[in-house]
Protein backbone atom coordinates (compact mmCIF):
# COMPACT_ATOMS: atom_id res chain seq x y z
CA UNK A 1 0.00 0.00 0.00
CA UNK A 2 1.08 3.56 -0.70
CA UNK A 3 0.09 7.03 0.46
CA UNK A 4 -3.58 7.97 0.13
CA UNK A 5 -2.56 10.81 -2.19
CA UNK A 6 -1.87 8.23 -4.93
CA UNK A 7 -5.51 7.13 -4.87
CA UNK A 8 -7.34 7.69 -8.15
CA UNK A 9 -10.72 6.20 -7.38
CA UNK A 10 -12.71 4.83 -4.46
CA UNK A 11 -14.40 1.47 -5.09
CA UNK A 12 -17.31 0.46 -2.86
CA UNK A 13 -18.99 -2.93 -2.47
CA UNK A 14 -22.16 -2.01 -0.56
CA UNK A 15 -23.97 -5.05 0.79
CA UNK A 16 -27.06 -5.49 2.93
CA UNK A 17 -25.19 -5.83 6.24
CA UNK A 18 -21.66 -4.71 5.42
CA UNK A 19 -19.71 -2.41 3.14
CA UNK A 20 -16.14 -2.36 1.93
CA UNK A 21 -14.23 0.55 0.44
CA UNK A 22 -10.93 0.43 -1.38
CA UNK A 23 -8.86 3.37 -2.52
CA UNK A 24 -7.27 2.27 -5.78
CA UNK A 25 -4.33 3.75 -7.70
CA UNK A 26 -4.20 4.43 -11.42
CA UNK A 27 -3.45 0.75 -12.12
CA UNK A 28 -6.14 -0.67 -9.85
CA UNK A 29 -3.68 -1.43 -7.06
CA UNK A 30 -4.95 -1.21 -3.49
CA UNK A 31 -3.88 1.97 -1.69
CA UNK A 32 -6.01 1.27 1.35
CA UNK A 33 -9.03 -0.76 2.43
CA UNK A 34 -11.79 -0.23 4.98
CA UNK A 35 -14.57 -2.57 6.12
CA UNK A 36 -17.64 -1.55 8.08
CA UNK A 37 -21.06 -2.78 9.14
CA UNK A 38 -22.61 0.31 7.56
CA UNK A 39 -24.48 -1.90 5.09
CA UNK A 40 -27.72 -0.88 3.38
CA UNK A 41 -29.68 -1.41 6.58
CA UNK A 42 -27.65 0.99 8.72
CA UNK A 43 -26.74 3.39 5.92
CA UNK A 44 -30.41 3.78 5.07
CA UNK A 45 -30.92 5.30 8.52
CA UNK A 46 -27.78 7.44 8.66
CA UNK A 47 -27.93 8.53 5.03
CA UNK A 48 -25.80 6.88 2.33
CA UNK A 49 -24.02 10.08 1.34
CA UNK A 50 -23.03 10.96 4.89
CA UNK A 51 -21.80 7.41 5.56
CA UNK A 52 -19.72 7.41 2.40
CA UNK A 53 -18.16 10.80 3.16
CA UNK A 54 -17.31 9.77 6.72
CA UNK A 55 -15.48 6.65 5.54
CA UNK A 56 -13.63 8.54 2.79
CA UNK A 57 -12.52 11.15 5.33
CA UNK A 58 -11.33 8.46 7.73
CA UNK A 59 -9.27 6.99 4.88
CA UNK A 60 -7.77 10.43 4.04
CA UNK A 61 -9.04 10.12 0.51
CA UNK A 62 -8.29 13.01 -1.89
CA UNK A 63 -11.09 15.58 -1.69
CA UNK A 64 -12.35 15.18 -5.25
CA UNK A 65 -11.87 11.43 -5.66
CA UNK A 66 -14.60 9.82 -7.78
CA UNK A 67 -16.46 6.82 -6.40
CA UNK A 68 -17.85 3.72 -8.07
CA UNK A 69 -20.34 1.57 -6.16
CA UNK A 70 -21.88 -1.87 -6.64
CA UNK A 71 -24.41 -3.78 -4.55
CA UNK A 72 -27.44 -2.95 -2.46
CA UNK A 73 -26.83 0.82 -2.49
CA UNK A 74 -28.45 0.53 -5.93
CA UNK A 75 -31.52 -1.37 -4.71
CA UNK A 76 -35.02 0.11 -4.69
CA UNK A 77 -34.75 0.41 -0.90
CA UNK A 78 -31.10 1.58 -1.11
CA UNK A 79 -29.50 4.95 -1.94
CA UNK A 80 -30.85 5.28 -5.45
CA UNK A 81 -32.54 2.66 -7.60
CA UNK A 82 -29.88 1.75 -10.17
CA UNK A 83 -32.24 -0.68 -11.88
CA UNK A 84 -31.39 -3.95 -13.54
CA UNK A 85 -29.88 -4.83 -16.91
CA UNK A 86 -31.76 -7.52 -18.84
CA UNK A 87 -30.21 -10.72 -20.14
CA UNK A 88 -28.25 -11.40 -22.21
CA UNK A 89 -26.06 -8.76 -20.55
CA UNK A 90 -22.61 -8.07 -22.08
CA UNK A 91 -20.12 -7.73 -19.23
CA UNK A 92 -18.34 -4.84 -20.97
CA UNK A 93 -21.57 -2.82 -20.93
CA UNK A 94 -22.35 -2.88 -17.20
CA UNK A 95 -20.63 0.45 -16.44
CA UNK A 96 -22.48 2.34 -19.17
CA UNK A 97 -25.73 1.99 -17.25
CA UNK A 98 -24.43 3.32 -13.92
CA UNK A 99 -26.55 6.03 -12.29
CA UNK A 100 -25.28 9.04 -10.35
CA UNK A 101 -25.31 9.01 -6.58
CA UNK A 102 -27.40 12.02 -5.65
CA UNK A 103 -26.63 15.21 -3.84
CA UNK A 104 -23.21 15.06 -2.18
CA UNK A 105 -21.17 17.21 -4.61
CA UNK A 106 -18.95 14.30 -5.57
CA UNK A 107 -18.92 12.12 -8.67
CA UNK A 108 -20.49 8.87 -7.46
CA UNK A 109 -21.70 6.21 -9.89
CA UNK A 110 -23.80 3.26 -8.80
CA UNK A 111 -23.79 0.16 -10.97
CA UNK A 112 -27.03 -1.62 -11.92
CA UNK A 113 -27.88 -5.22 -11.09
CA UNK A 114 -29.00 -7.91 -13.52
CA UNK A 115 -32.47 -9.32 -13.96
CA UNK A 116 -33.74 -12.40 -15.72
CA UNK A 117 -37.30 -12.41 -17.01
CA UNK A 118 -37.90 -16.18 -17.37
CA UNK A 119 -37.76 -17.54 -14.79
CA UNK A 120 -37.73 -14.35 -12.71
CA UNK A 121 -34.46 -13.79 -10.87
CA UNK A 122 -32.28 -10.87 -9.80
CA UNK A 123 -28.71 -10.16 -8.69
CA UNK A 124 -27.06 -7.04 -7.39
CA UNK A 125 -23.33 -6.94 -6.71
CA UNK A 126 -22.41 -10.36 -8.09
CA UNK A 127 -22.42 -8.97 -11.66
CA UNK A 128 -19.42 -6.83 -10.69
CA UNK A 129 -17.52 -9.89 -9.45
CA UNK A 130 -18.24 -11.51 -12.81
CA UNK A 131 -16.93 -8.44 -14.59
CA UNK A 132 -13.74 -8.66 -12.54
CA UNK A 133 -13.04 -12.36 -13.08
CA UNK A 134 -10.63 -12.21 -15.98
CA UNK A 135 -11.11 -15.84 -17.00
CA UNK A 136 -14.79 -15.25 -17.83
CA UNK A 137 -14.08 -12.95 -20.76
CA UNK A 138 -14.19 -15.70 -23.38
CA UNK A 139 -15.83 -19.10 -23.85
CA UNK A 140 -18.69 -20.67 -21.90
CA UNK A 141 -18.62 -20.91 -18.13
CA UNK A 142 -20.79 -22.09 -15.26
CA UNK A 143 -20.07 -19.81 -12.30
CA UNK A 144 -20.93 -20.54 -8.67
CA UNK A 145 -21.00 -17.59 -6.26
CA UNK A 146 -21.88 -18.88 -2.78
CA UNK A 147 -23.39 -16.71 -0.09
CA UNK A 148 -26.60 -15.64 1.63
CA UNK A 149 -28.26 -15.92 -1.76
CA UNK A 150 -25.93 -18.08 -3.84
CA UNK A 151 -25.85 -17.37 -7.57
CA UNK A 152 -25.21 -19.87 -10.35
CA UNK A 153 -24.45 -18.01 -13.54
CA UNK A 154 -24.07 -18.98 -17.17
CA UNK A 155 -21.54 -16.81 -19.00
CA UNK A 156 -21.04 -17.17 -22.75
CA UNK A 157 -18.64 -15.13 -24.87
CA UNK A 158 -18.49 -12.23 -22.45
CA UNK A 159 -22.23 -12.05 -21.69
CA UNK A 160 -24.32 -13.25 -18.78
CA UNK A 161 -26.99 -15.39 -20.43
CA UNK A 162 -28.82 -17.01 -17.47
CA UNK A 163 -28.65 -17.42 -13.72
CA UNK A 164 -30.42 -18.86 -10.73
CA UNK A 165 -30.39 -18.02 -7.04
CA UNK A 166 -30.45 -20.49 -4.13
CA UNK A 167 -31.25 -19.20 -0.64
CA UNK A 168 -28.57 -21.39 0.93
CA UNK A 169 -26.89 -19.01 3.37
CA UNK A 170 -30.13 -17.43 4.51
CA UNK A 171 -31.73 -20.84 5.09
CA UNK A 172 -28.73 -22.01 7.11
CA UNK A 173 -28.89 -18.99 9.40
CA UNK A 174 -32.66 -19.17 9.78
CA UNK A 175 -32.91 -22.91 10.39
CA UNK A 176 -29.95 -23.00 12.77
CA UNK A 177 -31.25 -20.11 14.86
CA UNK A 178 -35.03 -20.42 14.77
CA UNK A 179 -36.27 -23.87 13.68
CA UNK A 180 -36.58 -27.04 15.74
CA UNK A 181 -33.01 -27.77 14.58
CA UNK A 182 -31.78 -25.12 17.01
CA UNK A 183 -32.21 -27.71 19.77
CA UNK A 184 -29.66 -29.90 17.95
CA UNK A 185 -27.32 -27.16 16.77
CA UNK A 186 -27.09 -24.91 19.80
CA UNK A 187 -26.41 -21.21 20.04
CA UNK A 188 -23.20 -20.80 18.02
CA UNK A 189 -23.28 -22.86 14.83
CA UNK A 190 -19.80 -23.32 13.39
CA UNK A 191 -19.11 -23.64 9.69
CA UNK A 192 -17.73 -27.14 9.08
CA UNK A 193 -14.19 -27.73 7.87
CA UNK A 194 -13.96 -28.72 4.20
CA UNK A 195 -12.90 -32.26 5.11
CA UNK A 196 -15.56 -32.73 7.81
CA UNK A 197 -16.88 -36.28 7.46
CA UNK A 198 -20.41 -35.45 8.71
CA UNK A 199 -20.62 -32.58 6.24
CA UNK A 200 -19.68 -34.97 3.45
CA UNK A 201 -22.18 -37.66 4.42
CA UNK A 202 -25.12 -35.23 4.53
CA UNK A 203 -23.92 -33.49 1.37
CA UNK A 204 -24.14 -36.85 -0.39
CA UNK A 205 -27.65 -37.41 0.95
CA UNK A 206 -28.85 -34.14 -0.57
CA UNK A 207 -26.98 -34.80 -3.83
CA UNK A 208 -28.73 -38.17 -4.15
CA UNK A 209 -32.15 -37.03 -2.94
CA UNK A 210 -32.42 -33.28 -3.49
CA UNK A 211 -36.20 -33.66 -3.81
CA UNK A 212 -36.36 -34.74 -0.14
CA UNK A 213 -34.77 -31.65 1.42
CA UNK A 214 -37.57 -30.84 3.86
CA UNK A 215 -37.53 -34.43 5.13
CA UNK A 216 -33.75 -34.59 5.34
CA UNK A 217 -33.81 -31.44 7.46
CA UNK A 218 -36.05 -33.11 10.03
CA UNK A 219 -33.79 -36.17 9.94
CA UNK A 220 -31.07 -34.09 11.56
CA UNK A 221 -33.36 -33.59 14.57
CA UNK A 222 -34.49 -37.24 14.63
CA UNK A 223 -30.87 -38.44 14.47
CA UNK A 224 -30.11 -36.43 17.57
CA UNK A 225 -33.22 -37.66 19.42
CA UNK A 226 -32.55 -41.31 18.69
CA UNK A 227 -28.79 -41.33 19.17
CA UNK A 228 -25.86 -39.02 19.41
CA UNK A 229 -25.35 -35.96 17.27
CA UNK A 230 -23.12 -33.21 18.64
CA UNK A 231 -24.03 -29.57 17.99
CA UNK A 232 -20.98 -29.39 15.77
CA UNK A 233 -22.13 -32.39 13.72
CA UNK A 234 -25.71 -31.10 13.54
CA UNK A 235 -24.45 -27.82 12.06
CA UNK A 236 -22.24 -29.73 9.62
CA UNK A 237 -25.23 -31.85 8.60
CA UNK A 238 -27.38 -28.77 7.94
CA UNK A 239 -24.61 -27.14 5.94
CA UNK A 240 -24.09 -30.34 3.93
CA UNK A 241 -27.79 -30.69 3.13
CA UNK A 242 -28.24 -27.11 1.97
CA UNK A 243 -25.05 -26.94 -0.10
CA UNK A 244 -25.77 -30.40 -1.55
CA UNK A 245 -29.27 -29.30 -2.56
CA UNK A 246 -27.87 -26.18 -4.17
CA UNK A 247 -25.32 -28.13 -6.20
CA UNK A 248 -27.81 -30.83 -7.20
CA UNK A 249 -30.32 -28.27 -8.44
CA UNK A 250 -27.68 -26.43 -10.44
CA UNK A 251 -26.21 -29.46 -12.19
CA UNK A 252 -26.98 -29.18 -15.89
CA UNK A 253 -29.08 -32.12 -17.11
CA UNK A 254 -26.88 -32.94 -20.10
CA UNK A 255 -23.52 -32.41 -18.43
CA UNK A 256 -23.75 -33.06 -14.68
CA UNK A 257 -20.01 -32.98 -14.11
CA UNK A 258 -19.35 -29.66 -15.78
CA UNK A 259 -16.40 -27.53 -14.72
CA UNK A 260 -17.40 -24.80 -12.28
CA UNK A 261 -15.77 -21.40 -11.82
CA UNK A 262 -16.06 -20.85 -8.06
CA UNK A 263 -16.04 -17.14 -7.16
CA UNK A 264 -15.65 -17.10 -3.38
CA UNK A 265 -13.29 -16.18 -0.58
CA UNK A 266 -12.00 -17.61 2.67
CA UNK A 267 -13.54 -20.51 4.57
CA UNK A 268 -16.79 -20.51 2.58
CA UNK A 269 -14.78 -20.81 -0.62
CA UNK A 270 -12.85 -23.78 0.76
CA UNK A 271 -16.07 -25.48 1.83
CA UNK A 272 -17.73 -25.07 -1.58
CA UNK A 273 -14.54 -26.16 -3.30
CA UNK A 274 -14.61 -29.42 -1.36
CA UNK A 275 -18.36 -29.87 -1.91
CA UNK A 276 -18.17 -29.28 -5.66
CA UNK A 277 -15.28 -31.71 -6.05
CA UNK A 278 -17.12 -34.32 -3.99
CA UNK A 279 -20.09 -33.86 -6.35
CA UNK A 280 -17.80 -34.61 -9.27
CA UNK A 281 -17.12 -31.14 -10.62
CA UNK A 282 -13.74 -29.80 -11.66
CA UNK A 283 -13.32 -26.45 -9.93
CA UNK A 284 -11.58 -23.27 -11.04
CA UNK A 285 -11.34 -20.99 -8.00
CA UNK A 286 -11.48 -17.21 -8.34
CA UNK A 287 -11.02 -14.98 -5.30
CA UNK A 288 -14.26 -13.03 -4.82
CA UNK A 289 -12.65 -10.06 -3.07
CA UNK A 290 -10.10 -9.59 -5.84
CA UNK A 291 -12.86 -10.06 -8.44
CA UNK A 292 -15.20 -7.41 -7.09
CA UNK A 293 -12.30 -4.97 -6.77
CA UNK A 294 -11.21 -5.65 -10.34
CA UNK A 295 -14.80 -5.31 -11.55
CA UNK A 296 -15.22 -1.98 -9.79
CA UNK A 297 -11.90 -0.74 -11.18
CA UNK A 298 -12.88 -1.77 -14.71
CA UNK A 299 -16.11 0.19 -14.31
CA UNK A 300 -14.19 3.19 -12.92
CA UNK A 301 -11.83 3.14 -15.89
CA UNK A 302 -14.77 3.14 -18.29
CA UNK A 303 -16.60 5.87 -16.37
CA UNK A 304 -13.85 8.23 -15.26
CA UNK A 305 -10.57 7.61 -17.07
CA UNK A 306 -11.57 6.83 -20.65
CA UNK A 307 -13.71 9.93 -20.95
CA UNK A 308 -16.80 8.13 -19.67
CA UNK A 309 -19.03 5.70 -21.47
CA UNK A 310 -19.92 6.37 -25.07
Amino acid sequence: MTAASSAHVAAVDWGTSNMRIWLLDADGGVVSERRSDDGMAKAGEKGFGAVLEAHLAAMHAPADIPVVVCGMAGARQGWVDAGYLSLPAPIAGFAKQAVKGPGIGRDVRILPGLSQETPPDVMRGEETQIAGAASLGRGRHLVCMPGTHSKWVEVADGSVTAFRTAMTGELFALLAASSILRHSIGASPAQPAPDDETFGVWLDRALHHPEALTSLLFRIRATGLLGELSPRDAAAALSGLLIGSEIAAAQPAGDPKRRVVLVASGALGSLYDAALRRAGHAVEPVDADAAVRAGLFAAARALFFDGGPA
Copy 2:
Protein backbone atom coordinates in the same frame (compact mmCIF):
# COMPACT_ATOMS: atom_id res chain seq x y z
CA MET B 1 -73.39 -33.85 24.70
CA THR B 2 -74.64 -35.10 28.06
CA ALA B 3 -73.96 -34.35 31.71
CA ALA B 4 -70.34 -34.56 32.89
CA SER B 5 -71.38 -37.33 35.29
CA SER B 6 -71.69 -39.70 32.32
CA ALA B 7 -67.98 -39.25 31.52
CA HIS B 8 -65.95 -42.46 31.79
CA VAL B 9 -62.56 -41.26 30.67
CA ALA B 10 -60.71 -38.06 29.83
CA ALA B 11 -58.75 -38.10 26.57
CA VAL B 12 -55.96 -35.56 26.08
CA ASP B 13 -54.10 -34.61 22.91
CA TRP B 14 -51.16 -32.64 24.31
CA GLY B 15 -49.24 -30.78 21.61
CA THR B 16 -46.31 -28.39 21.70
CA SER B 17 -48.39 -25.20 21.67
CA ASN B 18 -51.92 -26.38 22.39
CA MET B 19 -53.83 -29.09 24.22
CA ARG B 20 -57.32 -30.52 23.84
CA ILE B 21 -59.28 -32.51 26.39
CA TRP B 22 -62.41 -34.52 25.77
CA LEU B 23 -64.58 -36.19 28.37
CA LEU B 24 -65.85 -39.38 26.73
CA ASP B 25 -68.71 -41.65 27.72
CA ALA B 26 -68.62 -45.43 27.89
CA ASP B 27 -69.07 -45.66 24.10
CA GLY B 28 -66.46 -43.06 23.21
CA GLY B 29 -69.08 -40.35 22.63
CA VAL B 30 -68.09 -36.77 23.43
CA VAL B 31 -69.51 -35.50 26.74
CA SER B 32 -67.57 -32.26 26.59
CA GLU B 33 -64.51 -30.72 24.96
CA ARG B 34 -61.99 -28.08 26.03
CA ARG B 35 -59.16 -26.45 24.07
CA SER B 36 -56.32 -24.45 25.57
CA ASP B 37 -52.92 -23.01 24.76
CA ASP B 38 -51.44 -24.90 27.71
CA GLY B 39 -49.26 -26.91 25.33
CA MET B 40 -45.99 -28.54 26.36
CA ALA B 41 -44.23 -25.18 26.41
CA LYS B 42 -46.57 -23.52 28.93
CA ALA B 43 -47.42 -26.68 30.85
CA GLY B 44 -43.73 -27.32 31.41
CA GLU B 45 -43.57 -24.09 33.39
CA LYS B 46 -46.85 -24.46 35.29
CA GLY B 47 -46.49 -28.20 35.91
CA PHE B 48 -48.30 -30.76 33.75
CA GLY B 49 -50.22 -32.32 36.65
CA ALA B 50 -51.53 -28.99 37.91
CA VAL B 51 -52.56 -27.91 34.42
CA LEU B 52 -54.41 -31.18 33.84
CA GLU B 53 -56.23 -31.00 37.18
CA ALA B 54 -57.28 -27.41 36.57
CA HIS B 55 -58.80 -28.25 33.20
CA LEU B 56 -60.56 -31.35 34.54
CA ALA B 57 -62.02 -29.29 37.39
CA ALA B 58 -63.22 -26.62 34.96
CA MET B 59 -64.96 -29.37 32.98
CA HIS B 60 -66.62 -30.75 36.15
CA ALA B 61 -65.09 -34.14 35.46
CA PRO B 62 -65.82 -36.95 37.95
CA ALA B 63 -63.22 -36.90 40.73
CA ASP B 64 -61.68 -40.29 39.95
CA ILE B 65 -61.88 -40.22 36.16
CA PRO B 66 -58.91 -41.89 34.49
CA VAL B 67 -56.96 -40.00 31.83
CA VAL B 68 -55.23 -41.14 28.64
CA VAL B 69 -52.77 -38.76 26.95
CA CYS B 70 -50.98 -38.69 23.62
CA GLY B 71 -48.51 -36.21 22.18
CA MET B 72 -45.71 -34.06 23.51
CA ALA B 73 -46.54 -34.62 27.18
CA GLY B 74 -44.65 -37.87 26.57
CA ALA B 75 -41.58 -36.22 25.08
CA ARG B 76 -38.21 -36.16 26.81
CA GLN B 77 -38.77 -32.46 27.59
CA GLY B 78 -42.46 -33.09 28.45
CA TRP B 79 -44.20 -34.48 31.55
CA VAL B 80 -42.63 -37.90 31.52
CA ASP B 81 -40.61 -39.56 28.76
CA ALA B 82 -43.00 -42.15 27.33
CA GLY B 83 -40.36 -43.33 24.87
CA TYR B 84 -40.87 -44.60 21.35
CA LEU B 85 -42.07 -47.90 19.92
CA SER B 86 -39.89 -49.34 17.16
CA LEU B 87 -41.12 -50.27 13.70
CA PRO B 88 -42.89 -52.36 12.61
CA ALA B 89 -45.34 -51.23 15.29
CA PRO B 90 -48.70 -53.06 15.50
CA ILE B 91 -51.41 -50.44 16.02
CA ALA B 92 -53.22 -52.67 18.51
CA GLY B 93 -50.15 -52.69 20.75
CA PHE B 94 -49.66 -48.94 21.25
CA ALA B 95 -51.64 -48.76 24.51
CA LYS B 96 -49.71 -51.60 26.16
CA GLN B 97 -46.61 -49.44 26.32
CA ALA B 98 -48.25 -46.43 27.97
CA VAL B 99 -46.44 -45.04 31.03
CA LYS B 100 -48.03 -43.63 34.17
CA GLY B 101 -48.28 -39.88 34.63
CA PRO B 102 -46.48 -39.27 37.90
CA GLY B 103 -47.58 -37.95 41.22
CA ILE B 104 -51.09 -36.52 41.05
CA GLY B 105 -53.04 -39.37 42.68
CA ARG B 106 -55.03 -40.05 39.52
CA ASP B 107 -54.67 -42.81 36.97
CA VAL B 108 -53.01 -41.07 34.03
CA ARG B 109 -51.44 -43.03 31.15
CA ILE B 110 -49.24 -41.40 28.55
CA LEU B 111 -48.89 -43.11 25.18
CA PRO B 112 -45.50 -43.59 23.56
CA GLY B 113 -44.47 -42.22 20.15
CA LEU B 114 -43.01 -44.20 17.26
CA SER B 115 -39.42 -44.21 16.08
CA GLN B 116 -37.83 -45.44 12.89
CA GLU B 117 -34.20 -46.46 12.98
CA THR B 118 -33.33 -46.28 9.26
CA PRO B 119 -33.57 -43.56 8.23
CA PRO B 120 -33.96 -41.93 11.65
CA ASP B 121 -37.39 -40.41 12.21
CA VAL B 122 -39.83 -39.89 15.07
CA MET B 123 -43.51 -39.12 15.63
CA ARG B 124 -45.45 -38.37 18.78
CA GLY B 125 -49.21 -37.96 18.69
CA GLU B 126 -49.82 -38.92 15.06
CA GLU B 127 -49.62 -42.62 15.96
CA THR B 128 -52.80 -42.16 17.99
CA GLN B 129 -54.60 -40.65 14.99
CA ILE B 130 -53.51 -43.69 12.99
CA ALA B 131 -54.88 -45.96 15.70
CA GLY B 132 -58.20 -44.11 15.51
CA ALA B 133 -58.61 -44.18 11.73
CA ALA B 134 -60.81 -47.24 11.32
CA SER B 135 -60.01 -47.72 7.63
CA LEU B 136 -56.34 -48.37 8.38
CA GLY B 137 -56.96 -51.63 10.21
CA ARG B 138 -56.48 -53.85 7.16
CA GLY B 139 -54.59 -53.75 3.87
CA ARG B 140 -51.81 -51.41 2.78
CA HIS B 141 -52.14 -47.65 3.05
CA LEU B 142 -50.12 -44.52 2.41
CA VAL B 143 -51.21 -41.96 5.00
CA CYS B 144 -50.58 -38.19 4.82
CA MET B 145 -50.90 -36.23 8.08
CA PRO B 146 -50.19 -32.55 7.31
CA GLY B 147 -49.03 -30.07 9.92
CA THR B 148 -46.04 -28.30 11.43
CA HIS B 149 -44.12 -31.51 10.83
CA SER B 150 -46.14 -33.44 8.26
CA LYS B 151 -45.98 -37.22 8.47
CA TRP B 152 -46.25 -39.68 5.57
CA VAL B 153 -46.87 -43.12 6.94
CA GLU B 154 -46.92 -46.62 5.47
CA VAL B 155 -49.44 -48.88 7.19
CA ALA B 156 -49.62 -52.56 6.31
CA ASP B 157 -51.98 -55.10 7.86
CA GLY B 158 -52.49 -53.11 11.03
CA SER B 159 -48.86 -52.14 11.58
CA VAL B 160 -46.93 -48.96 10.94
CA THR B 161 -44.00 -50.12 8.80
CA ALA B 162 -42.31 -46.87 7.73
CA PHE B 163 -42.72 -43.11 7.81
CA ARG B 164 -41.10 -39.85 6.90
CA THR B 165 -41.47 -36.31 8.23
CA ALA B 166 -41.46 -33.10 6.18
CA MET B 167 -41.01 -29.76 7.97
CA THR B 168 -43.65 -28.10 5.80
CA GLY B 169 -45.66 -26.12 8.36
CA GLU B 170 -42.62 -24.99 10.31
CA LEU B 171 -40.85 -23.86 7.13
CA PHE B 172 -43.92 -21.90 6.02
CA ALA B 173 -44.12 -20.02 9.32
CA LEU B 174 -40.39 -19.37 9.48
CA LEU B 175 -39.94 -18.26 5.87
CA ALA B 176 -43.06 -16.08 5.87
CA ALA B 177 -42.09 -14.32 9.09
CA SER B 178 -38.31 -14.13 9.06
CA SER B 179 -36.77 -14.66 5.60
CA ILE B 180 -36.42 -12.18 2.75
CA LEU B 181 -39.83 -13.46 1.61
CA ARG B 182 -41.41 -11.48 4.46
CA HIS B 183 -41.02 -8.37 2.29
CA SER B 184 -43.27 -10.05 -0.30
CA ILE B 185 -45.71 -11.74 2.08
CA GLY B 186 -46.29 -9.06 4.70
CA ALA B 187 -47.23 -9.38 8.33
CA SER B 188 -50.30 -11.65 8.21
CA PRO B 189 -49.86 -14.51 5.76
CA ALA B 190 -53.18 -16.10 4.87
CA GLN B 191 -53.58 -19.75 4.01
CA PRO B 192 -54.67 -19.97 0.37
CA ALA B 193 -58.07 -21.32 -0.62
CA PRO B 194 -57.96 -24.84 -2.11
CA ASP B 195 -58.83 -23.51 -5.58
CA ASP B 196 -56.37 -20.60 -5.47
CA GLU B 197 -54.78 -20.38 -8.92
CA THR B 198 -51.44 -19.03 -7.69
CA PHE B 199 -51.23 -21.86 -5.16
CA GLY B 200 -51.80 -24.36 -7.96
CA VAL B 201 -49.21 -22.86 -10.30
CA TRP B 202 -46.46 -22.88 -7.66
CA LEU B 203 -47.51 -26.32 -6.45
CA ASP B 204 -46.95 -27.59 -9.99
CA ARG B 205 -43.52 -25.96 -10.10
CA ALA B 206 -42.44 -27.84 -6.98
CA LEU B 207 -43.99 -31.09 -8.20
CA HIS B 208 -42.03 -30.83 -11.44
CA HIS B 209 -38.78 -29.58 -9.90
CA PRO B 210 -38.70 -30.60 -6.25
CA GLU B 211 -34.90 -30.62 -6.39
CA ALA B 212 -34.95 -26.85 -6.95
CA LEU B 213 -36.84 -25.82 -3.83
CA THR B 214 -34.29 -23.33 -2.49
CA SER B 215 -34.20 -21.60 -5.88
CA LEU B 216 -37.96 -21.61 -6.29
CA LEU B 217 -38.26 -19.94 -2.90
CA PHE B 218 -36.13 -17.02 -4.05
CA ARG B 219 -38.15 -16.86 -7.25
CA ILE B 220 -41.12 -15.69 -5.18
CA ARG B 221 -39.10 -12.66 -4.13
CA ALA B 222 -37.75 -12.01 -7.63
CA THR B 223 -41.25 -12.25 -9.12
CA GLY B 224 -42.36 -9.49 -6.77
CA LEU B 225 -39.33 -7.31 -7.51
CA LEU B 226 -39.71 -7.57 -11.28
CA GLY B 227 -43.48 -7.34 -11.52
CA GLU B 228 -46.57 -7.61 -9.43
CA LEU B 229 -47.12 -10.18 -6.71
CA SER B 230 -49.63 -9.35 -3.98
CA PRO B 231 -48.90 -10.42 -0.39
CA ARG B 232 -51.79 -12.87 -0.73
CA ASP B 233 -50.29 -14.38 -3.88
CA ALA B 234 -46.80 -14.51 -2.37
CA ALA B 235 -48.15 -16.49 0.59
CA ALA B 236 -50.06 -18.79 -1.77
CA ALA B 237 -46.87 -19.32 -3.79
CA LEU B 238 -44.87 -20.24 -0.67
CA SER B 239 -47.59 -22.62 0.47
CA GLY B 240 -47.75 -24.21 -2.98
CA LEU B 241 -43.99 -24.71 -3.17
CA LEU B 242 -43.69 -26.32 0.26
CA ILE B 243 -46.72 -28.60 -0.08
CA GLY B 244 -45.66 -29.50 -3.63
CA SER B 245 -42.18 -30.43 -2.41
CA GLU B 246 -43.65 -32.54 0.35
CA ILE B 247 -45.92 -34.44 -2.03
CA ALA B 248 -43.19 -34.91 -4.64
CA ALA B 249 -40.75 -36.31 -2.08
CA ALA B 250 -43.35 -38.73 -0.73
CA GLN B 251 -44.47 -40.13 -4.06
CA PRO B 252 -43.45 -43.78 -4.20
CA ALA B 253 -41.09 -44.44 -7.10
CA GLY B 254 -42.99 -47.41 -8.50
CA ASP B 255 -46.49 -46.06 -7.99
CA PRO B 256 -46.49 -42.26 -8.14
CA LYS B 257 -50.28 -41.94 -8.26
CA ARG B 258 -51.02 -44.09 -5.25
CA ARG B 259 -54.17 -43.54 -3.22
CA VAL B 260 -53.54 -41.42 -0.11
CA VAL B 261 -55.43 -41.54 3.17
CA LEU B 262 -55.45 -37.88 4.24
CA VAL B 263 -55.78 -37.50 8.00
CA ALA B 264 -56.45 -33.79 8.52
CA SER B 265 -59.07 -31.30 9.64
CA GLY B 266 -60.50 -27.97 8.54
CA ALA B 267 -58.93 -25.61 6.04
CA LEU B 268 -55.55 -27.37 6.03
CA GLY B 269 -57.30 -30.62 5.16
CA SER B 270 -59.13 -28.98 2.25
CA LEU B 271 -55.89 -27.46 0.96
CA TYR B 272 -54.01 -30.78 1.04
CA ASP B 273 -56.98 -32.56 -0.50
CA ALA B 274 -56.85 -30.18 -3.46
CA ALA B 275 -53.05 -30.42 -3.69
CA LEU B 276 -52.99 -34.22 -3.62
CA ARG B 277 -55.69 -34.48 -6.30
CA ARG B 278 -53.84 -31.96 -8.47
CA ALA B 279 -50.73 -34.15 -8.10
CA GLY B 280 -52.73 -37.10 -9.41
CA HIS B 281 -53.53 -38.94 -6.19
CA ALA B 282 -56.90 -40.37 -5.26
CA VAL B 283 -57.68 -39.16 -1.74
CA GLU B 284 -59.53 -40.79 1.12
CA PRO B 285 -60.17 -38.12 3.75
CA VAL B 286 -60.22 -38.96 7.47
CA ASP B 287 -61.04 -36.28 10.03
CA ALA B 288 -57.99 -35.86 12.25
CA ASP B 289 -59.90 -34.63 15.30
CA ALA B 290 -62.26 -37.62 15.22
CA ALA B 291 -59.31 -39.93 14.61
CA VAL B 292 -57.24 -38.81 17.58
CA ARG B 293 -60.31 -39.04 19.83
CA ALA B 294 -61.07 -42.54 18.59
CA GLY B 295 -57.43 -43.54 19.04
CA LEU B 296 -57.37 -42.22 22.60
CA PHE B 297 -60.63 -43.99 23.38
CA ALA B 298 -59.33 -47.28 21.98
CA ALA B 299 -56.29 -46.93 24.22
CA ALA B 300 -58.49 -46.10 27.23
CA ARG B 301 -60.59 -49.18 26.61
CA ALA B 302 -57.51 -51.38 26.51
CA LEU B 303 -56.00 -49.71 29.59
CA PHE B 304 -58.97 -49.12 31.89
CA PHE B 305 -62.06 -51.02 30.77
CA ASP B 306 -60.71 -54.38 29.59
CA GLY B 307 -58.79 -55.00 32.77
CA GLY B 308 -55.71 -53.28 31.44
CA PRO B 309 -53.15 -54.54 28.94
CA ALA B 310 -52.04 -58.15 29.14
